[in-house]
């Protein structure tokens, strides 16, 4: 019971923090920072997957959403403009 409560509490906390990270990513006008916020959200999601016993998804989600996707977005940003216009 105690361990279960810890797991679900951590899961709830991670999902709430991921919502905040998404909000910050949407609000940010500096696209590089927005990509970093989005990667933070992915880290919370992988924590959720791990807590809810899906290690296979964690192993694919971490490199893709934490490494490959931000790198790809940063390359694309470097080819356009860094700041979002009004």
């Amino acid at each position: 019971m105690g361990l279960d409560l810890l797991v679900y509490g951590l899961g709830a906390l991670a999902s709430l923090l991921s919502v905040i990270a998404v909000y910050l990513a949407l609000e940010e006008r500096d696209l590089v920072k927005a990509v970093i916020y989005s990667a933070v959200q992915s880290v919370f999601y992988s924590l959720l997957f791990y807590l809810f016993m899906a290690p296979d998804i964690v192993l694919v989600y971490l490199p893709v959403a934490g490494g490959v996707l931000p790198a790809l977005l940063l390359v694309l940003i470097s080819k356009t403009e860094r700041f979002e216009r009004e």
Binding site: G9, A12, L16, V58, L59, V60, G67, V75
Partner: protein
């Protein structure tokens, strides 16, 4: 739009927090019973007493991905193949620079030395995720995606020319990826072909012998559990995914040459 997003986010955070404080922990525990479908998979995934139904793999996720629902994964791999091909098609006909890598390119010496140590370690972890996919969580795609982080790191920290100078060229990556895809195709019809040669009934995407078909992929090789086709699928998927990602990044990150030369 922005105010709407703001409103939705704030509302969901407040509602979520209050739900957490008031109700969760009392009424939101999932049931501890296992559903009958999951029970069927868990009962057969590694079960020597049911030799006609088992996959000989203690990792039920990989067993489902490459055996029970193998065709789905084959089509998923096809989608990935087409995505990479269309990405490459976008960059065709563009002249790209090819310089000799110098010491002044990339980040500082400290970062480069650390990357020289961690790069092979990431590759080793990726290989263990990929090749132990039938025993522990992981598999070909997971391992391949992990391995794909290494070329990205090297491109950022050294330079894209360093990779091609070291022999990681687009041509070689394309070859490796094609070997992976051909391997996946060959593995999926391997048992079927063996059945044709022996004159016994066998199916495409078959792994272990079934009640109507006595042909089976060897699931123990020299005492090591390979779970029939699963190990081979993982190996080839690992090659295809890692080389595909590396190829896409090398093409994307190589600077374009001027139109005049």
């Amino acid at each position: 739009m922005r105010t709407l997003v703001k409103l939705v986010v704030i509302t969901s955070v407040v509602m979520g927090l209050s739900l957490l404080l008031v109700l969760a922990g009392v009424s939101f525990y999932p049931s501890s019973r296992v559903r009958w479908l999951a029970l069927a998979y868990l009962n057969t995934t590694y079960n020597p007493y049911l030799p006609n139904f088992t996959v000989w793999s203690p990792e039920s996720v990989t067993a489902i991905v490459w055996d029970y629902r193998g065709l789905d994964t084959l089509y998923e791999t096809t989608v990935f193949f087409l995505a990479i091909i269309s990405g490459l098609a976008l960059g065709r006909g563009v002249k790209r620079l090819n310089l000799k890598p110098g010491g002044d390119m990339g980040l500082s010496l400290i970062v480069k030395t650390v990357t020289r140590i961690t790069g092979p370690m990431i590759l080793a972890v990726a290989a263990s995720i990929g090749l132990h996919g039938h025993l522990t969580p992981g598999g070909g795609f997971q391992g391949g995606a992990t391995a794909a982080v290494v070329p990205v790191l090297y491109i950022v920290i050294f330079s894209v020319f360093y990779l091609s100078w070291k022999g990681v060229s687009t041509g070689r990556m394309l070859t490796m990826r094609s070997i992976g895809l051909i391997g996946i195709g060959a593995t999926s019809i391997a048992v079927f072909t063996a059945g044709l040669l022996e004159g016994a009934p066998a199916y495409v995407f078959q792994n272990i012998a079934k009640a109507t078909s006595p042909v089976s992929m060897p699931y123990y090789i020299h005492g090591a559990l390979t779970s029939g086709t699963l190990w081979w699928f993982n190996l080839f998927e690992f090659l295809a995914v890692s080389a595909g990602f590396a190829l896409a990044f090398i093409i994307l990150m190589t600077p374009e040459a001027d139109k005049n030369g």
